[in-house]
């Protein structure tokens, strides 16, 4: 088993537990062990855009220091918000010596960080290190005839400097869906923001986006949507259940993490964690009469 350093972030230990469980399980199938950092702290969720306050960069950089101290040169993430925040902080200190030295002076317990770590998203591991053929080879229950809308959202592809794919025409999730035997559907809202943190104080704005995005996926014929972001998941899944109360004609579209889709295709269905979802994914996956019946 190859070991890789894994940074879960807060959500994957709680609301997005199914994201983590399915990732651990499919990684095993792929011969990879996710070694969680023995100590890690919250990345802060959102990258600070304020140029004069370095305090908000300390949290992300501390995590990179811990990975370095464990002897790694790469740190892998699943949550696209953690991925974005860690990558951007890392990029900031790698290109600005002055800021890096201020942060190093502040973190007096740790040995200086010199930019030793590269932050990578799990999807990059799949595409760039393992390759889609390797993924295909592990598929036991191909997602035949299942139409999946890849929802990229914002944080995987923007900004360009750290994005893992073309921000205007991303394809990495489409390629994953194809490798699993499913049909990726093209829909116009694949990279449109779900409203993000406005879900806390501007719920109406988010509900509007939930309707546009999930409605758009439905119109394009999708049986379900995949995501890599626990906040998008909340806005598209839990908020969609609320939307259904006020807009009963809305056609519900389940939303799952990309690793859950992999788990289904790899035959690891018991780790899916679907019971936590507001919109039941099983009908979208046709689980009642395909995978489950074969178990």
């Amino acid at each position: 088993m190859r070991e890789i350093a894994y940074y879960p972030g807060c959500s994957l230990k709680d609301t997005a537990k199914g994201f983590e469980d399915s990732a651990i399980s499919v990684s095993k199938d792929l011969g990879i062990e996710l070694k969680e950092l023995p100590r890690w702290n919250c990345c802060g969720t959102v990258y600070s855009l304020t140029d004069d306050n370095l305090m908000k960069q300390v949290g992300p950089i501390r995590n990179l220091v811990r990975a370095r101290d464990q002897g790694y040169d790469s740190l892998y993430t699943l949550c696209s918000m953690c991925d974005n925040t860690l990558k951007r902080s890392n990029r900031l200190v790698k290109k600005d010596e002055d800021k890096l030295s201020k942060i190093n002076n502040f973190m007096d317990q740790e040995e200086d960080y010199e930019g030793e770590i590269e932050v990578k998203h799990y999807l990059e591991l799949l595409r760039d290190e393992l390759g889609w053929q390797e993924i295909k080879a592990k598929v036991k229950e191909p997602l035949e005839g299942i139409k999946v809308a890849p929802y990229y959202g914002c944080m995987l592809t923007r900004p360009k400097e750290i994005g893992l794919d073309d921000p205007h025409k991303p394809s990495i999730l489409d390629e994953l869906i194809t490798s699993l035997g499913g049909i990726p559907v093209d829909f116009p809202y694949e990279s449109e923001c779900c409203g993000s943190y406005n879900t806390v104080d501007k719920k109406e704005v988010v509900l509007g986006k939930t309707q546009t995005i999930t409605g758009g996926a439905n119109k394009a014929g999708a049986d379900l949507i995949i995501t890599a972001c626990p906040l998008c998941h909340f806005n598209l899944d839990s908020r969609q259940a609320e939307l259904l109360e006020v807009a009963p004609s809305h056609h519900p579209v389940p939303v799952i993490y990309f690793t859950q889709l992999m788990a289904v295709a790899f035959g690891d269905i018991d780790v899916s964690g679907f019971e936590k979802h507001a919109i039941d994914p099983e009908p979208g996956l046709n689980l009642d009469n395909t995978v489950v019946s074969k178990r």
Binding site: C10, S11, D14, T15, A16, C42, G44, T45, V46, S48, L49, T50, D51, D52, K56, C79, M81, C154, T157, R158, P159, K160, P167, H168, S191, E192, C193, G195, S196, Y197, N198, T199, V200, D201, K202, V205, K209, P230, L231, F234, S238
Partner: protein, 127 residues
């Protein structure tokens, strides 16, 4: 364009906080064309930048910076590579550093909200 001292102060503050040069924007409007939240905004993103260029302090009262979700769609669309969300953040920060909180946790029903929503929101909307 003649800016008086207080106009210059606002412009300087936004540029300092954002690390951006406001005048690198030539008002093409591409950021606003692609922004997914303009319907809810009182000023379009390019109008926010225009006000900053003019040092117009009324921009501090605008709703737009609090609706901006830092989605970065404008940033990848801007032909000049301007970091519009950093300018939005600078405008928020000016208020937040005056002891202003846009979101008051005590007035919110946070029981159904996941931590990722709360942490990100409070990082952007409280001082």
């Amino acid at each position: 364009m003649n800016l008086n001292e207080s106009d210059k102060q606002l412009l300087g503050k936004v540029e300092e906080l954002s690390g951006e040069n406001a005048f690198s924007c030539y008002q093409c409007g591409k950021c606003s064309a692609g922004c997914p939240f303009t319907e809810e905004m009182d000023l379009l993103p390019n109008q926010v930048i225009r006000k900053v260029q003019m040092g117009d302090a009324s921009v501090l009262e605008a709703e737009t910076p609090w609706i901006c979700a830092s989605c970065l769609s404008c940033e990848v669309d801007c032909p000049k590579g301007n970091d519009v969300p950093a300018i939005m953040e600078a405008i928020r920060e000016i208020s937040l550093r005056e002891n202003f909180d846009e979101v008051n946790l005590n007035e919110l029903d946070a029981s159904d909200l996941p931590e990722i929503a709360l942490v990100s929101n409070l990082r952007k909307k409280t001082g």
